[in-house]
């Protein structure tokens, strides 16, 4: 505290603080991985890493909409589970079913987001509670739908998005379809957040809802849209994850917190007003890189949870510190 009152941050220092540390972190992690495992430099290595991170990166980009709007969406993990279970039940091993199942699932995702948004906006239920309730509900729906045991299977046409590698590509040889999805949805989410009026209004209501309302922002509609984007990105992430790994009953559990961690790692401000889609996605890549690194160091899986918890706290603390220093 004394240091802060005595020293005035210089302009050079201020500029340094404005480089989002998540990119530095990501590069540092990737260098560390390469040092431990040179095979990571091969296309097979880094392509598999990106393929693995694709679902979380898209999810984090979507979850960021709700976070910037000043809320939380804890239902995204359950939405991913529902997408995978529901798709497997509907597909019943028919490869031609994919073409209507994915749009249907996106529709269900939009509906879930709409309900989340309506409950938060009009019933005045805090988003943490509203989406927690939705999470429990969706998990229950998935359980009832499957009878507790997935009897169906995802056809290869469905798994194409998460699993298929395009082979024979010059330079890299293999190119997973999941990475194409990552780039496409990443661009869409970036454009929506940083190049449209909607994005500006989401920032506005997250920063100061009353001021936004007085300035004529349709607060409820904007917030509902943010929840819809978040839920639909969960469906996309579910399709990719289900494609990568196949059916399992709790495939999405834990992803809601990973998405929030990734967004925070990317410098998003919890309780709203600030955040960047590319940085949130870089946060997701960094999180996956941390997991890869822990694995290469031979640490068991539960250590990941410890690390993830510490990162969440550390990242928020760092963000608060930067905010103070930069005067924002």
């Amino acid at each position: 505290m004394t240091e802060q009152t005595l020293s005035t941050p210089g302009s050079a220092r201020r500029r340094l603080l404005q480089i989002n540390p998540v990119y530095v972190l990501l590069v540092a992690l990737l260098v560390a991985i390469v040092l431990l495992n040179p095979a990571f430099m091969e296309p097979q290595g880094y392509m598999n890493y990106l393929k693995r991170a694709a679902a979380l990166a898209i999810l984090s980009g979507g979850a960021l909409y709700v976070i910037v709007a000043g809320g939380f969406d804890l239902s995204v993990g359950a939405m991913m589970t529902l997408t995978v279970i529901g798709s497997s039940m509907l597909a019943s091993n028919d490869p031609n079913s994919t073409y209507w199942i994915i749009p249907l699932m996106l529709g269900i995702g939009a509906l879930v987001g709409l309900i989340n948004g309506l409950v938060v906006s009009y019933l005045r239920v805090p988003s943490l509670i509203a989406t927690l309730g939705m999470m429990i509900t969706l998990t229950g729906v998935a359980f009832v739908w499957s009878g507790g045991a997935p009897r169906g299977y995802l056809p290869d046409t469905f798994r194409f998005f998460g699993r298929f590698n395009i082979t024979g590509v010059p330079l890299v040889n293999i190119f997973p379809v999941a990475i194409i999805c990552l780039v496409v949805f990443g661009l869409i989410l970036w454009w929506g957040m940083h190049r449209t009026n909607l994005g500006r209004m989401i920032h506005a209501i997250g920063d100061n809802q009353r001021a936004a309302r007085l300035a004529g922002v349709p607060v409820e509609r904007v917030r509902i849209t943010a929840f819809i984007v978040s839920s639909m990105s969960a469906v996309v992430a579910g399709v990719i994850l289900g494609g990568r790994a196949g059916v399992s009953v709790d495939i999405g559990s834990g992803y809601e917190l990973q998405a929030i961690t990734a967004a925070v790692l990317g410098g998003a401000q919890l309780l709203g007003g600030r955040g960047s889609v590319p940085a949130a996605m870089a946060g997701a890549l960094a999180l996956e890189a941390i997991f890869t690194l822990l694995n290469l160091l031979g640490l068991p899986q539960p250590v990941r949870q410890v690390v993830q918890g510490l990162i969440l706290i550390g990242a928020v603390a760092l963000a608060m510190y930067r905010r103070k220093r930069t005067g924002r």
């Binding site: 097979q44 045991a149 997935p150 590698n165 293999i174 196949g246 495939i251 694995n295």
Partner: protein
């Protein structure tokens, strides 16, 4: 202060002793040897109907339970919460149709909860309509008092699948057992690798007797054969987790064999090798169609030990024979537990059955086959 330390130390010793006494032994050389012998031993009964076969000659006298039909057979089920239990329960309901003497078949699903199953059994006993009670216990220790209570009420009780620690039931129907499963998969791994090979052991979850014994049996064999156990990881039966775990180990080095205590996620493990562009090594599985088909398509060195779902048929048959007053194998009805090997792989593959169907269902000759199991003719 000294007294306090002494008291605390004394308490600690007591607790440790109590824990020792209660912890079930999942690494029992005698049981291991017994099951190893049973795997290759002779079984009584018709060879083409393994669900009627039994090891040993001990029979339980059931004359006192003889009763005229129609009967109400009650079944307290631990759950139908995984594909194995779904197939087994279908076996059971189809078997009920073979016995016109069964007037009513009452099924209560405990949904994987000990508490619910204890309450279910109480309700069935209080209802007073059951002629016989079949129990597939959710967990061994928790359900033992409930089963004892049912026995005390005078009902004939049949236990199958997981056991209880009382011999009051008429019989306990089960295949050879967990050690047997571990031995079959373990022997296959050892036969197809050389000393020093890296084996990854994938397990569903800790603490379940039939799964713990599978692992302890195989673990001892691997150590004896000089194989290097890379790790023992728990997958929760989750495909995504399984695939990630195998990918993680692949990043760290080579894997010469994957041993699995249950086959539900075997295909995810195989896919991890496929997607990493590495030849698929020995991967053990179970008799699920998806694994059998993958094994055939890729031609890796597979084996499918089974925990046959036909035991669900046997439970009904045991109850029916008991109510007829006919002797049944007891106090344990040990069923054969075959493994599907490369030689017989083709005869168990049926692409018209669902991918999660268990091939060792003994159900092919039943009237409802294959539609009742979700297949097509």
């Amino acid at each position: 202060m000294k007294k306090l330390v002494m008291a605390v130390a004394g308490m600690a010793v007591l607790f440790a002793g109590a824990a020792q006494a209660q912890a079930p032994n999942f690494d029992d050389p005698a049981e291991f040897a017994k099951q190893k012998a049973q795997l290759t031993g002779a079984f009584n009964g018709p060879a083409d109907s393994p669900w009627l076969q039994y090891a040993g000659d001990a029979m339980a006298d059931t004359a006192k339970f003889k009763k005229d039909g129609p009967w109400t057979i009650c079944f307290s089920n631990a759950g139908v919460n995984n594909p194995w239990r779904v197939v087994g329960y279908t076996d059971m309901t189809e078997e009920v149709k073979n016995h016109p003497e069964i007037g009513t078949f009452t099924h209560v699903d405990a949904e994987g909860s000990d508490d619910k199953q204890i309450a279910d059994i109480d309700d069935l006993l209080a209802g007073g309509t059951c002629s016989a009670l079949i129990v597939s216990p959710n967990s061994t220790a928790a359900l033992t008092p409930a089963v004892e209570k049912a026995c005390a009420s005078g009902l004939p009780v049949i236990v199958f699948d997981r056991g209880v620690t009382t011999d009051c039931p008429v019989t306990f129907v089960h295949p050879v057992g967990g050690y047997g499963f571990g031995i079959q998969a373990g022997e296959h791994v050892i036969a197809n690798t050389s000393a020093g090979a890296n084996v990854l052991m994938l397990r569903i979850l800790p603490g379940v007797d039939v799964l713990e014994t599978r692992a302890s049996g195989a673990r001892n064999m691997f150590k004896e054969a000089g194989l290097n156990i890379l790790g023992e990881e728990f997958t929760d039966g989750d495909n995504a987790k399984t695939k990630s775990i195998v990918e993680d180990y692949l990043q760290r080095g080579t894997i010469d064999a994957v041993w699995m205590d249950a086959g539900a996620t075997a295909v995810a493990a195989v896919e991890a090798f496929e997607d990493a562009g590495v030849p698929v090594p020995v991967v053990t599985g179970e008799d699920q169609q998806d694994y059998l088909q993958k094994w055939k398509a890729l031609g890796f060195k597979g084996i499918a030990p089974t925990y046959p779902t036909y035991q669900w048929r046997t439970a009904i048959i045991a109850a029916v024979n008991t109510l007829k007053g006919e002797a049944v194998p007891g106090p344990e009805w040990v069923l054969p537990q075959p493994a599907i090997t490369q030689d017989v792989l083709d005869q168990y593959i049926n692409e018209k059955m669902p991918p999660l169907h268990y091939a060792m269902c003994g159900c092919e000759g039943m009237p409802g086959y294959p539609e009742a199991w979700g297949g097509t003719k």
